[in-house]
Amino acid sequence: MATVDLKDVRKVYSGGVEAVKGVSIAIPDKALCVLVGPSGCGKSTLLRMIAGLETITSGTCAIDGNVVNEVGPTERDIAMVFQNYALYPHMKVYDNMAYGLRNRGTPKAEIERRVREVAETLELAHLLDRRPRQLSGGQRQRVAMGRAIVRKPKVFLFDEPLSNLDAKLRGQMRVEIRNLQSKLGVTSVYVTHDQLEAMTLADMLVVMNAGMVEQIGQPLDVYERPASIFVASFIGAPPMNLLPLSETGSGLALADGSAIAGSLPASKAVTLGFRPEDVNVNYDGRALPGALTLPVTVDAVEPVGAESFLHCASGGGRVVARVAGRAAAKPGDKIDLVAQAGKLHWFDGAGRRLE
């Protein structure tokens, strides 16, 4: 259907604020690309530039190979799902969905057929005569999706569409959006600040920070090989443990001066990272064969059912360990955390990953 190509896109607001500082992303046909990042990282601005709702200061945005910088949102053939749904409050569900088609001069019978068809897919058929205020949050969400789908656009744009739903509904809608998108095969750009949503939805994950792209890749690649400290701490919950390092005569040491036991870290590394689930807990003090052994004191235990989180204080800083089932430790216990060499991440002074 369509590709979306961003080349060195920048956005400078009239006040001089640079919201997007040169972003290049090539989204292949039929892919679901998720832009994720903290508030104010420029992800929504980028989406709105693709939509044509914001002008592009420099760089180009191409849909299906055609540069659309000067093309209005209507002519770009995109459909957008907004955070607050932006349904027309005075129109019935049917008219909300039909409005875009009517404006494009689609024949009445065709509109009727398409709206009914989409309503069927989204289980909205019995709600077509209602007004938006008579619908629940999840139903409004569906109507907003339906309004986008009936248009059969080249590109779907989602601007944090699930952030107003409760947690359970959010999980449900996430799966639905994923299924719908792959069934329809429409190239999509999805903006969210929720890393779980990003991980589960994306074919292509773009992590943004301060107006720039930190990393582009498949979700699991990004998770397993974060390109920077920012990505490492943003993707994953609880986030990756990050310990600052200092250089001593013989090698690298943790903040408290204790040398790192085990295999050699990469030279020039100033930060050591490991995921909470990538450590084994050694309760009895015996040394286990491993790359890094970190003696820690347990501060708090958070049992969440299938797993438990151990919040610990170590000589190098605070760390979290994730263990399956119930943890056999209580606050105050002294234990060892052992991480395998292959599971350690090293970052340089600029926060970039070292291989």
Binding site: A51, L53, G72, P73, T74, I78, A79, M80, F82, Q83, N84, A86, L87, Y88, P89, H90, M91, Y99, G100, N103, R104, R131, R133, R147, R151
Partner: protein, 282 residues
């Protein structure tokens, strides 16, 4: 809380009834006076009950029996006033909704200058600009015309501000959704903005209709011929300083008829905008 015991309910109702009596009595008395002969009215005390001259007085007034205003029927006066009040109300709404639309949703050079220009006209009372306006109307040849009655009163900073405040509460996402859906500025205005504004328009219409209906100074200046008079002007002209020269029973009839259209507008529009409020909650 209110109405928790029968005694309190009784007191509350007693106060309300008393209030209604105080407000309604002069109107009732006017009605009573409109059903008596001039002689009965001029010889105090005036009876408290309606007399038998209802048909005589009302048909005389409607067929133009009032000498002092040149025998113009009350029907003509009502028609003139209705045209003026509707013209002012509708004209003001159209002008102000369009200017508010431009100021809120479009970016153009000197946008804020125009906004402030509209705003400062609030600070000039009509009386200050009445002579220059009169001169302009004379030169346009609009004396004794409906256009002359309506046009100078159409501009409204208050209504513009009201619509501006309302438009600013419309979420940006809604505007953007409409843009993505292919609605141009006119489509957006007619399909989205106008339906959403209908309760505001209804409320404004009531206020502006009554404003237009009760205009006195401007119609007095701009109309010379008796058959272009509005009902308020005619009422004034009917009354002479000498009691015997005034057909009081017909004055009372005219006064009664003059309040009917505003009451109708309030009652009908009230139902309409209450329904609007219930119907189109955002």
């Amino acid at each position: 809380m209110i109405g928790t015991s029968p005694a309190r309910t009784f007191i509350a109702h007693a106060v309300l009834v008393l209030g209604i009596v105080i407000v309604a009595f002069p109107i009732y008395y006017t009605f009573v006076a409109s059903t008596h002969t001039l002689q009965t009215i001029l010889r105090p005390p005036l009876p408290l009950w309606p007399g038998g001259e209802f048909w005589t007085n009302y048909s005389e007034a409607l067929s133009g029996g009032v000498r002092r205003i040149g025998g113009v029927g009350v029907g003509t006066l009502l028609f003139n006033t209705t045209v003026m009040a509707l013209g002012i109300a509708i004209g003001k709404i159209i002008i102000s909704i369009l200017s508010a639309y431009a100021i809120v949703f479009f970016r153009f050079p000197l946008r804020m200058t125009f906004f402030w220009l509209i705003f400062i006209t609030l600070m000039l009372p009509v009386e200050v600009r009445i002579l220059p306006t009169y001169k302009v109307m004379v030169q346009f040849g609009l004396i004794d015309t409906y256009a002359g009655l309506i046009l100078p009163l159409i501009a409204s900073a208050t209504a513009t501000l009201l619509f501006r405040q309302f438009f600013m509460t419309i979420p940006g996402e809604l505007v953007e959704a409409a843009r993505v859906d292919g609605a141009g500025p006119w489509r957006f205005f007619f399909d989205i903005l106008l339906p959403l504004s209908r309760t505001n328009i209804a409320a404004l219409f009531v206020i502006l209709f009554i404003y237009g209906w009760t205009q006195y100074l401007w119609p007095l200046l701009i109309t010379n011929s008796n058959d272009m008079n509005t009902i308020v002007i005619a009422l004034r002209k009917m009354i002479s300083f000498a009691d015997a020269d005034t057909q009081w029973q017909l004055v009372m009839v005219t006064a009664m008829l003059a309040i009917v259209p505003p009451i109708l507008v309030v009652v009908l529009m009230q139902r309409w905008f209450v329904r609007g409020l219930v119907d189109s909650e955002k």
